[in-house]
Symmetry: C2
Subunit: 361 residues, 2 copies
DNA sequence: TTGTATGCGTTATCAG
DNA sequence: CTGATAACGCATACAA
């Protein structure tokens, strides 16, 4: 097979069917009108020749491309890959395809990918914006006529549909439940980096979902009598080492901190491992709630209590909104909040007044 | 913003820069030759106008599209999403983009997706073929000049590069290790469906990786004295219920079966849960080895021994081969076998002669 | 070095 | 209903 790239065109089919190019194009493209006889002839010729339409050329002509660009933080993360599956399933039903890219949660890459996708003339964009304050590239996309829907996050500067979890509400629910159980000081652990490892100004948190949760966390903690709730927010849990350090710091505050909230399931897993490795048992020595109902949360003993983020649904809804925009819906931009309920399993329990824990160094 | 899709063209830039369309195209496209003055004028005009090249049109002209199609069984599965990340990273470095689809491990969908991607005139295809015996659509793609690389699987009917794990070898290694430990009868559990729930002819197994492993499994078991090793292969573990049934059947053969091999990490997790729920402790009551080093295998107690399939590397290698083919490499098709070593953690132990286990019904 | 003219495979317009 | 023919935006052979 000499691998020539020259496929057949409507002209070839037309010739074989003994009709004009225009007629062949009409029946093959499924538009306009053609007589039964012509239609049969063309279809038959196309069949025997093995004609494959060229969607590139079609898009060029029509200006529409059947491609939707998706930009996520990390496709390896089940949080996103599940969302992508939701997007993919909905899109397919609308005869749209999905071109996907990773931003690695870096603004520069996100900007680059938007540019690439725009050059490909995607019909629309679904993005989990890395930084809510830096969305000019997305605004430009919208301005030039490419609809955008944001996933899991939103930006006040962006008037587009957004599909988010109920970040504030779920934090409130979890903390309320924990308070009820007797917990007074709870730690919030996030992968987000800050310059000095301490929580800075809330406005400086780029990922809106994270900001919402921390904001809600601080408010709730303050309401229940904690004077400096910012001290309970631990940032930079981006790998095993930093997470181990954080766990050490949390345990050093023992016994005052009696519960931990993990901002995503990767962090949750690392914290759980650290805790087990140090011989602590859950929930007696420490309560733990992780965001995202990941696979691993069901094989531990006890199973992990989680804030269930149904990201497959996030994805479905986002795709749905985009499709609707593509069809011409020009109602005002809207934010869709998907419920993210606390699923209580085995890691929420009453705190026990325990003495200082032995910390290996 | 009234959302008009009409972006600027080279012609607009040319006009603004007071040069011909061809000159503008040359500097914007980065080919051919242009004087410094012309180049500066064009670039400046493009900048101020906000020109964005149209990759669709470019692809039409050149015949090349910067898109690579990827078809996996299920993007939600970490096995594949990790591979996709590997593909994505390598592709990006070569200025290629990734358009992704799910086959849901169904041949009909795979065929459909290949067709869709071919219509989009993708530069190449990376596919995890669902059925090694039904690859005409892939052969056709190759014949028409679109290079194909298969991922994790291969087909004897397909003369294309393939990147696979060492399926036979890893089975041998695991069984050898288990035998050494004293295990004589080992169960192999797979999601693959068979008509009657029993293992049929090996040739009827569509997914090559699965076939290789089972084939190796049967050979090894027979070698070590098991007369009817097919009885040790349990198929159809596709959800919680069916997996529970299988575990029941395995335990019913107790105490002769003393170890279980899980063909993928989803099955592994389900089996682990079943075993724990029934109060068995690993590895005393049962040894367990799962394919794929998934997150969950590190949070259990004990941690799960796994056959580590580095699918990120699978993906990287596959993308690498495709890029190479795209660059014109026409050496004979080759299969690249990536090592998939046994990572021993806590679930391999000596079998204990135990009495019948209580099985709840 | 630059410009002119033509082609890529469709869709779409407008007479026949 | 059908058939020429002109776009679409870019690349490129060839002429200047």
């Amino acid at each position: 097979m000499s691998g020539k790239k020259s496929s057949l065109t409507v002209a070839d089919v037309a010739r074989a069917a003994k009709v004009s190019k225009a007629t062949a194009a009409r029946v093959l493209g499924g538009y306009g009108i053609a007589s039964e006889t012509a239609r049969k002839a063309v279809l038959e010729a196309a069949e025997t020749l093995g004609y494959q339409p060229n969607d590139l050329a079609r898009s060029m002509s029509t200006g529409r491309s059947g491609l939707v660009g998706v930009i996520v933080g990390d496709i390896e993360n089940a949080f996103f890959s599940q969302a992508v599956r939701g997007i993919s399933d909905r899109l397919r039903a609308a005869d749209l395809n999905l071109i996907i890219s990773n931003s690695s949660e870096r603004l520069s890459e996100e900007i680059e990918m938007v540019s690439v996708l725009l050059r490909q003339r995607v019909a629309g964009l679904i993005v989990a914006p890395t930084d809510a304050r830096r969305v000019d590239h997305l605004k430009a996309a919208v301005a030039s006529g490419t609809p955008v829907v944001t996933l899991d996050r939103r930006s006040p500067d962006l008037e587009v549909d957004a599909v988010c979890g109920d970040d504030r509400g779920s934090v409130a629910q979890v903390l309320h439940r924990l308070h009820e159980e007797g917990h007074r000081r709870v730690a919030y652990v996030t992968a987000m980096m800050t310059a000095d490892g301490r929580l800075g100004k809330l406005e400086d948190i780029g990922i809106s979902a994270v900001r919402e949760r921390i904001s809600s966390f601080l408010a709730q903690m303050r309401d229940t009598g904690v004077e400096t709730p910012a001290d309970l927010v631990f940032t930079g849990a981006s790998d095993d080492g930093s997470t181990a350090d954080i766990v050490t710091r949390i345990l050093a505050q023992s016994p005052s901190i009696t519960a931990i909230l993990a901002s995503d399931s990767l962090i949750g897993a690392r914290i759980f491992r650290e805790l087990s490795d140090r011989g602590l048992s859950l929930p007696q020595d420490m309560s733990l709630v992780s965001w995202f109902d990941a696979d691993w949360t069901r094989v531990t003993s006890p199973r992990i209590s989680v804030v269930d983020q149904p990201t497959y649904q996030f994805g479905q809804k986002a795709a749905e909104r985009l499709i609707s925009r593509l069809k011409g819906d020009d109602s005002p931009a809207q934010t869709f909040v998907v419920a993210t309920p606390l699923v209580e399993r085995g890691t929420i329990g009453a705190p026990k007044g325990r003495g200082p824990v032995e910390i290996p160094d």
